[in-house]
Amino acid sequence: MAPGQKIKAKIKKNLPVRGPQAPTIKELMRWYCLNTNTHGCRRIVVSRGRLRRLLWILFTLTAVCLIFWQCALLVFSFYTVSVSIKVHFQKLDFPAVTICNINPYKYSAVRHLLAELEEDTRQTLKNLYGFSEMTPRRRREAESWGLAQEGRHPRFLNTIPLLLLETGEPGQAREFLTGRKRKVSGKVIHKAADVVQVHDSRKVVGFQLCSNDTSDCVLYNFSSGINAIQEWYKLHYMNIMAQVPQEKKINMSYSAEELLVTCSFDGMSCDARNFTLFHHPMYGNCYTFNSRQNETVSTSMGGSEYGLQVILNINEEEYNPFLVSSTGAKVIVHRQDEYPFIEDVGTEIETAMATSIGMHLTESFKLSEPYSQCTEDGSDVPVENIYKTAYSLQICLHSCFQMKMVEKCGCAQYSQPLPDKASYCNYQQHPNWMYCYYQLHQAFIREELGCQSVCQEACSFKEWALTTSLAQWPSAVSEDWLLSVLAWDQGQPMRKKLNKTDLAKLLIYYKDLNQKSIVESPANSIEMLLSNFGGQLGLWMSCSVVCIIEIIEVFFIDCFSIIARRRWQRAREWWARRTLPAPEATPRAGGQDNPTLDVDDDLPTFTSALRLPPALGAQVPGTPPPKYNTLHLDRSFSAQLKDTQLPPTEV
């Protein structure tokens, strides 16, 4: 006999095949309860008295239910996050700082483009409020009051007329141009009227936007003429500027040397070369410090003297009186790869002041799917990024709107970048774009375009918390010499002195080099979940995966095999009763069919060698465990076991 076989035989004898050989399900259950490792079951079987048994069944079932409940809770709370906040003191990368003059273009440079519009605006003011002479506080170049163009036909007021609406008589409006009343159709939209109840003024100013076939009109009115005129002016302004090529616009705006008088960073001098140009449609030329992604400068000292210090020349003379009504500059602190949304989130800077902005860096990292609905780099958001910069929610919303605009109105809105194969809207090519734009904008605000649902927030972002404080600059005693030296720096002729209201000083610095990071991390891992399962199973029933396998084995495999066996037995009996003359065919199949007895294939050689061959019928069940009290039921197998023994006898 080969050693392997010998071992096998020996093991078989020493550790006889045992298993749920129970003939009935009840016996199987009993066997299971007595032998399982879980704690409750045994008590059910060994308890005496019905009440106790019932109680134990109840307890066991309760424990099972509790386990299921708790495990379900654990599974449902799997995708939760824990937040950690860390503070590091380290050398920090200085953010990109974009500085814009509030006024986009030098008025003297754009004047020839806007002359007609200006004329119309003045005429409107004259008609509406009855004054004609505007005396700007100081405007050096003599302004030619539109005398030369007296007989001109007002083009812009014809295209989109400004109207004075009488609230008393709906549908009636007076045109500024002609003074005659005219019928107004279309729905009336109060700008912001649904937010704030407009006090019941008698007269409201507004303008009407019509689509091509003038039957469909929308009327916008405003509670104050200031808003109406500015909005109206802006519409036409965008219309005009949209036709001007980019290079020309850059030339009309401020150059870096004009805007930045002095600059120093980290105690070292810097100049216009350290700034990169960024052309914003509504703010003209903006200049970004430290915008190059691969050569970011960093700060290794906190405090104002180690940050960015610039003196800006705002040059109030060149301001456009209708487009902007405030003076100063706008500044925004952002990441190098981020698009500066200067109109949305910029900080304004006053002239004749030193604005010191202390920064605190906070970084946040969120976990993306499945923990939250955020996107890592925007690649999974189905909106094309027209800004060509790093993804952010703002960029997505603006891109989404612009794409919708191109799709619906056939042209792109002026204040946002141009998508591929599109052009900015203007009257010449898209006569009714304004109507389309306002309709679309309303829909956007009411979240009807679906942009808000498509766009997701970015998972990680850097935020610079700014503490802004102001001080008087230049101080009374130093004003004299400072202004003249600054004028020299600007390269201006000696006699022309700078005015302090043209200048603004800006200091941007890290207050300290602490970087706060807020990091989300998964609160649960799979091993935590498993060990929590283990804890629950162990607590209620002292159970483990082995028990679960046991349960599967007993309740699914063994139960079915028992049922199948009994069925088979019955069928065989029934068959035997019906067809007595054919007893040989079925037993063989039965013997091989019985899965529990398959293992005993080579048993006869072994048993016959050691044990008494005559006790064949009694011995073969050797499989049943001696401890199982099912032993006495072995006889129930006898009929069948004979069959299993048949093959060797045949051989």
Partner: protein
């Protein structure tokens, strides 16, 4: 010999111990252990046995793997944070107030006389190079100028930049830079060392910066030679600066402020510093319960070339900390009322091993020079101390802006002619800064005051008159107005509705967490516990014992073989002898009646006296139940 004896003793003990084979041990273990898997291995048929064996191994592997993960996680020393927000009665922050101008011009004028004249000449030269030298007749202090002069660098020819002295007249009568504008020429400071042999030029892109830098460098030079007492006297005294003070409903005055001298801002005054007296608490939110101050910054008395920005400088900080007002301070504008709502943002961190923070700075290898102020450690203090120590190392004198270590002096041109050159190279050196950053550690408890700043015009035009009258009367006992809109500052500092936000760290994974997860894993896969581990350990020890016994027996057998090889008359019983030795543990039947003469009776007494070493310990019931099987299995096993 001694060791051998001892080993033998051990051997005897061992031989008394586990008298069974590996296999028996395994079977016994599997049958009796409390872990769930092994039991099933021995209870079922061969196929199931194999399955269960694999399962048990798999589960054991899984448990080990998961334990590894948990222990690694634990050793990462992660923290979790708890955030709490609310209002509670808290100590009002210390408020440091400075004037933007360090000194009063009227007091400091005699000191700066020469420098101011020089500056005026420089400005005139820059602005109007062709104008006749009206001030040439005036005697300028040449020593100041010659040490660190301002120069023009003519960059119109980019390949050959020309350096021109601002006052140099040697260029055939025409003043240097006569045709220079800001675009063509740059103003630079010449810094020289070693008696003017090694020079560098500190370039500026704008003349404004150059002259400001130059002036402050020269002023530093002058002030560093003045005694601290005189410096204090030249600054703004508390009674001139602080006109009115109200804390909550309690009146306070300039006497409630402690003075500290700041090199950049002169006399600074700290309210509620908590050095001598107990810090004042504030138990209500809102401006009515905060600190209200009226200051007069006296803008007309500003040092002309030193303070171009006018306003009060303000910093909120913790009690008993040094105010680093230049870094973290904010401005308050004159002629306005500045309201500051305060939220105390506190971060409490765990020390080692969770993070590299320091509790009191005692483990930082930098001598804290701010200790003289009796203040606690902060990273700013550390970095400045670090710089000052580098300064003393390289330039052998201390910089005026930082405190002095004992036994050293401040830099000035008279005693240390090279210091400006040395300082400017050191100051711009990135390696120096990085060395300091890496050396200094942040503090574990970090408090920041988040401010919400708002401003309004003050005093209003209608109230201006009487307010100025009252204030003038109070301060100067004068019926005339002695102050103006450009000098007066009103400050309100108060707690916001929520005045604290505390982020507290706690260990994310403590030992309880670790144990319960280990238990959970072990329980989940195998239903095991610590006792099971102990059982397992016991079995391992048993295994080792058996191994040792077997090894010893083997060694002995080998030796015997050798000795028998030496005696050339091998008795026929030798083979049996060897066998007896190899199997002495488990051949009770053979060992008992062993007739062979033992070659070393003294060495192996246990072998013979051992009654039935092969008999399994009586505690193992498996052996009890089936002694016949065991014997049989053993003999078979041996045969194999």
């Amino acid at each position: 010999m001694h060791v051998k004896k001892y080993l033998l003793k051990c051997l005897h003990r061992l031989q008394k111990g586990p008298g069974y084979t590996y296999k028996e041990l395994l079977v016994w273990y599997c049958d009796n252990t409390n872990t769930h898997g092994p039991k099933r291995i021995i209870r079922e048929g061969p196929k199931k046995k194999a399955v269960w064996f694999m399962l048990t191994l798999l589960f054991a592997g899984l448990v080990c793997w998961q334990w590894g993960i948990f222990i690694m996680t634990y050793l990462k020393w992660e923290v979790s944070v708890a955030l709490s927000i609310g209002f509670k009665t808290m100590d009002f922050p210390a408020v440091t107030i400075c004037n933007a101008s360090p000194f009063r011009s009227s007091k400091v004028q005699p000191l700066l006389q020469d420098l101011d004249e020089l500056m005026e000449a420089v400005l005139a030269r820059i602005l109007a190079p062709t104008a006749p030298h009206a001030n040439a007749s005036r005697a300028l202090n040449a020593t100041i100028w010659n040490h660190t002069p301002l120069v023009f660098i003519d960059e119109r020819d980019p390949h050959h930049p020309e350096v021109l002295d601002l006052f140099g007249d040697g260029h055939n009568g025409s003043a240097p830079g006569s045709s220079c504008s800001a675009q063509g020429c740059k103003v630079a400071i010449r810094l020289c060392s070693r008696n003017g042999t090694v020079c560098t030029f500190r370039n500026f892109t704008s003349a404004t910066q150059a002259v400001t830098e130059w002036y402050s460098l020269q002023a530093t030079n002058i002030f560093s030679q003045v005694s601290p007492k005189d410096l204090v006297a030249m600054g703004y005294p508390a009674e001139r600066l602080i006109l009115a003070c109200l804390f909550g409903a309690e009146p306070c005055s300039y006497r409630n402020f402690s003075r500290i001298f700041h090199p950049d801002y002169g006399n600074c005054y700290i309210f509620n510093w908590g050095m001598k007296e107990k810090p004042l608490p504030s138990s209500n939110p809102g401006a009515e319960f905060g600190l209200k101050l009226i200051l007069d910054i006296g803008q007309q008395d500003y040092v002309r070339y030193l303070a171009s920005t006018a306003g009060a400088r303000l910093l909120l900080h913790e009690q008993r900390t040094y105010p680093f007002i230049k870094d973290e301070g904010i401005y308050a504008m004159s002629g306005t009322e500045t309201s500051i709502g305060v939220l105390v943002d506190k971060l409490e961190r765990m020390g080692k091993p969770y993070s590299q923070c320091t509790v009191n700075g005692s483990d930082v290898p930098v001598d804290n020079l701010y200790r003289d102020y009796n203040t606690s450690y902060s990273i700013q203090a550390c970095i400045r101390s670090c710089f000052q120590s580098h300064m003393i190392q390289n330039c052998s004198c201390g910089h005026y802006l930082y405190p002095l270590p004992p036994g050293h002096r401040y830099c000035n041109t008279r005693d240390f002619p090279d210091w400006a050159y040395c300082y400017s190279t050191l100051h711009m050196s990135v390696t120096q800064r990085e060395a300091c950053i890496s050396m200094c550690k942040e503090t574990c408890n970090d408090t920041q005051y988040k401010m919400t700043i708002s401003m309004a015009d003050w005093p209003s035009e209608s109230s201006e008159d009487w307010i100025f009258h009252v204030l003038s009367q109070e301060r100067d006992q004068s019926p005339n107005i002695t102050m103006d809109r450009e000098g007066i500052v009103k400050l309100n500092i108060y707690f916001q509705e929520f005045n604290y936000r505390t982020i507290e760290e706690s260990a994310a994974n403590n030992i309880v967490w670790l144990l319960s997860n280990l238990g959970g894993q072990f329980g989940f896969w195998m239903g095991g516990s610590v006792l099971c581990l102990i059982e397992f350990g016991e079995i391992i020890i048993d295994f080792l014992w058996i191994t040792i016994i077997k090894l010893v027996a083997l060694a002995k057998a080998l030796r015997q073989k050798r000795t028998q090889a030496r005696y050339d008359s091998p008795p026929p019983t030798v083979a049996e002898l060897v066998k007896a030795h190899t199997n002495f543990g488990f051949q009770p039947d053979v060992a008992g009646p062993d007739p062979d003469p033992d070659p070393h009776p003294g060495a192996y007494p246990s072998e013979q006296t051992l009654p039935i070493p092969g008999t399994p310990p009586p505690k193992y019931d498996s052996l009890r139940l089936q002694p016949l099987d065991i014997i049989e299995s053993d003999s078979e096993g041996d045969a194999i």
